[in-house]
């Protein structure tokens, strides 16, 4: 499908307004995507970027405003309509069917058939043609089930899928969130190739530097409204940040001098197996002292989950030892570790940290239900629990400020503040925090960061696992980089660049020539980087 030769922009959105109940997600947004360019949509989480593009893609109906594609007014009732008009979207959560093969995923919904049967041979030819045109490696693993692919490869499958469906306009929703810096660079090259062939891209991101690197134009959204559109060539990070947040932003948090004390948590030669019996943590050893935060950086799925679960007592240890104040606690159960003073802010607050359909009173008992005064001789003292819940809600600024709210009704940030509060109120000595600010609003992030620093200053030893480099860098006293189950290096946050961290996270030496790394990365076999254990379900 060749683009019609007109001067009209690829996409033109005029005054798009979208409400969810009382919440205005998009407020009269104008947006123009010129043909053959990349236009970044920049904004904080919740600023309305994804909603705007979902309107374009036919997932939502706008309450007001118009959409024009190639100058023609359009209204899409469904993604199918949008697709037929040449609009494709790469979602943040990949829309792939894990047990089906790459080829089957690419052609899903658009299968060529012969005599009623799917003609995979014909489909294969078409997909290989697309791959060779854009120099994608996807054709090398067309018969591999998607669940065996790493995230970077899955993303390329998604792009090929859109191209197969004839997309001229591609929306990429936070495409770099799951990638290493090197994989992200590779993606930007792909984006260049796509625009060179006349395709037009919308690049949704909240990362300033990426928008500046990859886009031709940048539109900033704040609280659902477009607050400015600038040419990337003329923009600066400071200017964009001011537009995004609505005030001046300090980029460098001042580092505090700290004096770590006695070792509290020590791990020796730890080996932990994943859900499918594969070794996911390999001979990891470290020590965390009083008044110290150890940051664990790494691309998701490199064994961090198994490591924190082993520390928290939720996953058995294959070999090695965990010592707490010098005593071996490897054999202690989760309950015994809670009582010993090891607190845990879990990776998945939705399924682990909170029972979604309990109110906050019932959630305040979670993990406390063997501890007086909340429980005595097997009976629960709900009055005491309620008091505790009220205290957490008050102290940790949980909104809405009532313990009768159902956990599911709270925003991510408030859920996380509640969990953090509950765990801190155990009065622990060691805190294991996994992704404490994932999917949390800006205000709550600051709040949680301040609490973590305050805990450290109060003498706790903290293990912080996060895939946000910025978070790890600002909070940690030391950074350990985890790759394929190993701590490949432990570095000083003040003496390392993002580039170097990225190389470590990709399993390279940090002194390695990045171009070599790039080439190496391109040849990653589909089932290697993440392993069959990653991402899949049992």
């Amino acid at each position: 499908m060749a683009p019609p030769e007109t001067a009209a922009p690829a996409v033109r959105l005029d005054g798009i307004t979208k409400r969810f109940g009382d919440v205005v997600a998009n407020d009269g947004v104008d947006f123009t995507l010129e043909r053959g360019t990349v236009h970044a949509l920049l904004g904080e989480n919740g600023s309305g970027k994804t909603t705007l593009m979902s309107v374009l893609y036919g997932l939502y109906d706008q309450d007001a405003g118009t959409i024009a594609i190639d100058g023609q007014p359009r209204a899409f009732d469904s993604p199918r309509d949008a697709m037929d008009a040449g609009v494709g979207m790469i979602h943040q959560h990949f829309q792939l069917v894990e047990p089906m093969t790459v080829l089957q995923n690419v052609i899903l919904g658009h299968e060529p058939t012969e005599n009623g049967l799917v003609d995979e041979a014909a489909a294969r030819d078409d997909v290989e043609a697309i791959c060779s045109r854009y120099d994608f490696d996807v054709d090398r693993y067309l018969d591999t089930p998607v669940r065996e692919l790493d995230l970077g490869a899955r993303q390329r499958v998604e792009i090929v899928k859109s191209l197969y469906r004839g997309a001229e306009i591609l929306v990429l929703d936070e495409p770099t969130a799951v990638l290493t810096p090197q994989e992200a660079d590779r993606l930007f090259d792909v984006m260049d190739e796509l625009t060179a062939s006349g395709r037009s891209l919308v690049f949704i991101t909240h990362k300033l530097d990426e928008a500046l690197t990859a886009a031709d134009e940048i539109t900033v959204l704040r609280d659902g409204a477009a607050v400015g559109t600038v040419a990337a060539a003329d923009a600066t990070e400071r200017e964009l940040a001011r537009l995004m947040v609505g005030r001046e932003v300090l980029f460098d948090r001042e580092r505090r001098e700290t004096a770590p004390g006695e070792p509290l948590l020590a791990v020796e030669d730890l080996r932990v197996r994943g859900d499918r019996g594969l070794e996911r943590v390999r001979e990891v050893g470290f020590t965390v002292r009083e008044r110290e935060i150890l940051g664990v950086a790494g691309v998701q799925g490199n064994g961090q989950t198994e490591l924190v679960e082993a520390l928290a007592g939720l996953r058995p240890v294959a070999s090695g030892a965990i010592r707490f104040r010098g005593e071996d606690v490897t054999g202690l159960s989760r309950r015994e570790r809670i009582e010993a003073g090891i607190a845990y802010v879990p990776e998945d607050r939705q399924t682990e940290g909170l029972v979604q359909d309990y109110d906050l009173v019932h959630n305040a008992l979670l993990g406390n239900h063997t501890i007086e005064p909340y429980a005595r001789r097997g009976f629960v003292d709900w009055a005491a629990v309620r008091e505790h819940a009220e205290e957490i809600v008050r102290e940790y600024d949980v909104q809405p400020p009532t313990p009768d709210a159902e956990a599911a009704s709270l925003s991510g940030g408030n859920q996380q503040k509640f969990i953090a509060g509950r765990e801190i109120e155990h009065d622990p000595d060691v805190m294991v925090a996994a992704h404490p600010t994932r999917g949390v609003d800006v205000g709550s992030i600051e709040f949680i960061h301040d609490r973590l620093l305050a805990l450290r200053d109060a003498g706790l030893a903290i293990v912080l696992v996060s895939s946000k480099l910025e978070e790890i860098r600002t909070l940690s006293d030391r950074i350990a980089v985890m790759y394929e189950g190993e701590f490949v290096d432990t570095v000083d946050p003040d003496a390392v660049t993002d580039e170097e961290l990225g190389l470590l996270m990709a399993g390279r030496d940090r002194g390695e020539d990045p171009t070599d790394a790039r080439r190496g990365e391109a040849e990653v076999e589909p089932d290697r980087a993440d392993g069959p254990d990653g991402g899949g379900r049992a």
Partner: protein
């Protein structure tokens, strides 16, 4: 990372969400609407099959609340529905689908009769001896029902065997094995039908208030005490909190330091124990011996409807049990005084369950007719 167990857990969770997510008033409305709608469908079927629905309705009321005997008949069935209903509610509330209450009920009742028959020669033949035998019989039922419930619990927790299917299979097995036992090894001397011997006359529940052979208010009292005890366990104790948390969100239970697998076994055991008590009451109060369980009535299945109607709340089981007790008594009355096939009542019970399963049906209907609920 997705927890591999989360799939099943979350599935149950959503099931519970939809059943329990409704407010109390909504639940009551849904329960009422389900029952009424099911009865209406039943009446339509009655009419379509060529019977007079009005006469049928009159028969239903006469059979359930028409006179003292009818009330006694209703309360007799209510007693069993409340007990079996609580057994189901314990499990469902904790997110475990124990469909095996019927089997646990059968095993418990049989254990009661056998233990009383075995111990009777050792106890004095008076009221004290009778009471002691009753207690022993009840204990035997609790142990047998609990163990028979624990088995699928263990299979679910440690071998991931779907408890819905294992409990249904164990129902078939319990009925088959006990049926064989009462026909062969345990057949009472001189019994023409495949029945055990009768338990001695002095072992039985006293006839108070109602002078009918197969109902005693003591049985009803046992049921109500069980309701109270279970309600306290579920709402006020650590065990109850652990059970409900494990059922709602296994990962959250594990996070709180609870062994979710052991808790699932505990839930099934407790559920089976209550079902065992129901079996004991049935054996002592109604039968006085044990017969082929394929013909004793499906209290353990109907209990599923009772529990769902009560939104799996132990206290709600009492009114729901009363409703089903009335329907059951009416069914027996109809079997005698009317030519409408009593199987209709079973079908209506099934319809009640079907409608209770789909609260959204009523919510949408309410929205359509503007009776309430918010528009989407």
């Amino acid at each position: 990372m997705t927890d591999p167990d989360a799939g099943g857990g979350r599935r149950l969770d959503r099931a519970a969400d939809r059943m329990l997510g409704a407010s109390a008033v909504q639940r009551l409305l849904i329960a009422t609407a389900s029952t009424v709608l099911a009865l209406v469908v039943g009446l339509v079927v009655v009419a379509a099959a060529g019977y007079d629905p009005a006469t049928f309705l009159v028969n239903v009321f006469e059979g359930s609340f028409g006179d003292a005997t009818a009330v006694a008949q209703t309360l007799r069935s209510t007693t069993l529905f409340v007990l079996t209903g609580v057994a189901v509610a314990v499990a469902f509330r904790a997110g475990v689908f124990n469909i095996g209450v019927q089997g646990q009920f059968v095993v418990g009742g049989f254990a009661t009769v056998v233990s009383i028959l075995w111990l009777a020669p050792l106890a004095p033949e008076n009221a004290v001896g009778g009471a002691a035998l009753l207690v022993c019989g009840a204990l035997a039922a609790v142990v047998a029902g609990g163990l028979y419930g624990a088995l699928p619990g263990v299979l679910k927790a440690y071998a991931d065997a779907n408890e819905i299917i294992t409990t249904i299979m164990l129902n078939f097995i319990a009925i088959g094995v006990v049926g064989w036992l009462v026909d062969g090894p345990f057949r009472g001397e001189g019994q023409r039908a495949p029945n055990t011997a009768r338990i001695p006359e002095h072992v039985g529940l006293p006839r108070l208030v109602f002078d009918v052979p197969d109902f005693s208010v003591v049985g009803l009292a046992v049921a109500l005490v069980a309701v109270g005890a279970i309600a306290v366990v579920m709402e006020r104790t650590r065990l109850g909190y652990d059970m409900i948390t494990s059922g709602h969100q296994e990962a959250a239970a594990a996070f709180s330091g609870v062994d979710a697998k052991r808790t699932i076994v505990a839930t099934m055991t407790l559920s089976g124990m209550v079902a065992g008590v129901a079996g004991a009451v049935f054996a002592v109060m109604i039968q006085g011996y044990y017969s082929d369980p394929s013909g004793i009535g499906t209290y353990g299945f109907d209990a599923i409807a009772v529990s769902l109607l009560a939104a799996n709340n132990p206290l709600g089981v009492v009114p729901a049990g009363l409703l089903f007790g009335g329907l059951d008594a009416a069914g027996r009355h109809i079997g005698i005084y009317s030519d409408v096939p009593v199987q209709l009542i079973d079908g209506v019970v099934g319809l009640v369950v079907l409608f209770v399963a789909a609260p959204e049906l009523f919510r949408m209907a309410a929205r359509r007719t503007g009776l309430g609920g918010e528009d989407r």
